[in-house]
Symmetry: C2
Subunit: 223 residues, 2 copies
């Protein structure tokens, strides 16, 4: 467990949710490592664009794969981006509409991404992205050709400026509302994997590998 506190700049103290902010780097790692999709924000011609894409982490570097939304990724070079990873953990149903909320964990990272050009780091970055998507695949699937590598953009983003936010637990109603005859509680939400579906074009006799069948379903937030 790495106890280095997260950098807290003005903009990572996000207004009203500040009380939900934590400053524990291990929380950041856990949120990132447990996710599958990030939302990458870039500015293009002064306007924001938010694009879902895959990612992976290696130490204090986040790698983002350039195949989806490539144009926006390229536009993001040498300018700042924002990467947000969100886990929805529950719907918070309060006695009052005003206090309805969600239980969630989110990580927000700011930084100027670096286009990875070193071949070894590019492979390491792609490995991180692949293993995030499907742990174990890097060692069994066909490695990229030189041409495929050239056609793939990998961006590296430092985790130096990041913040994490968590909301857990039951609703927080107004004192007088606890006497109301209204149900309140949390509907837990989680992401699950279903049984793998083999490619219809799969050659006969190839079983689903154990690293795919035995993969644990994504974890819920710690209680």
């Amino acid at each position: 467990m790495n106890a280095t506190p997260l950098s807290s700049t003005d903009r990572t103290r996000l207004g009203r949710v500040n009380e939900r902010g934590l400053t524990d780097r291990s929380n950041l790692y856990e949120m990132l490592d447990g996710g599958l999709v990030c939302h990458l924000g870039v500015v293009v011609d002064g306007s924001p664009r938010v694009i879902p894409t895959g990612y992976g982490r290696d130490g204090d570097t986040l790698y983002i794969h350039g195949s989806t939304g490539a144009r926006s990724l390229i536009a993001g070079q040498s300018q700042e981006v924002c990467v947000t990873v969100t886990h929805l953990d529950g719907l918070v149903l309060a006695r009052s509409l005003f206090h309805h909320s969600m239980n969630y964990r989110s990580a927000i990272i700011f930084g100027v991404p670096r286009l990875v050009t070193d071949p070894d780091e590019k492979l390491a970055g792609l490995r991180a992205v692949t293993e995030q998507l499907a742990p174990g695949q890097w060692d069994v699937a066909r490695l990229p050709t030189r041409k495929e590598l050239a056609g793939t953009a990998v961006l590296a983003l430092s985790l130096e400026e990041a913040s994490v936010k968590i909301r857990t637990g039951p609703p927080s109603d107004e004192d007088e509302d606890y006497a109301l005859d209204i149900w309140a509680g949390v509907v837990p939400v989680r992401q699950v994997f279903d049984a793998p579906v083999s490619d219809p074009r799969l050659r006969p006799g190839i079983p689903v590998p154990s690293h795919v069948t035995d993969r644990p379903t994504p974890a819920r937030a710690a209680k």
Copy 2:
């Protein structure tokens, strides 16, 4: 089914994923109505910020609730924002690392949001946001007081400029790779609700209401 085509501007044709673009407004509605969290992108001091938050739809207007990330929402007034809703439907494991991908549905909306000031529309917007989170709650929970309403910002965003993108189906490998002795297929991913957890402070004798217990789990993409 509303067949109005989505507006397609240059920036909603997002580079390499253009072939995945659809122009059917009913697809847009379905993606938005089936989601729980959107990622709101705004520009602050020239830098992007991406914030997860709740939303709701009423016709061709998306309503965004201002309690989370309020400062960024306010900064977003009279300037353009980008709202993205993403459903992750599957992990696409190909024979080659290069063709690993995800099955997903996403909606991206651009526009200048309008701060809702009309009291009736504000209630309608909050109703849309609440019913998106938990259908049926608007009719049972305590309505907002005047003070609570005043403390809540609601933004309205037209769905005029939007695009939807879908990837479904098995991996698309290189022709020669189909002969490889490597498993390929899709690991389906979906979001599920677990059994509701009553607030520890709930008054005795209040059952979980049927609109909560009987809520269907979020839908998977159509095959």
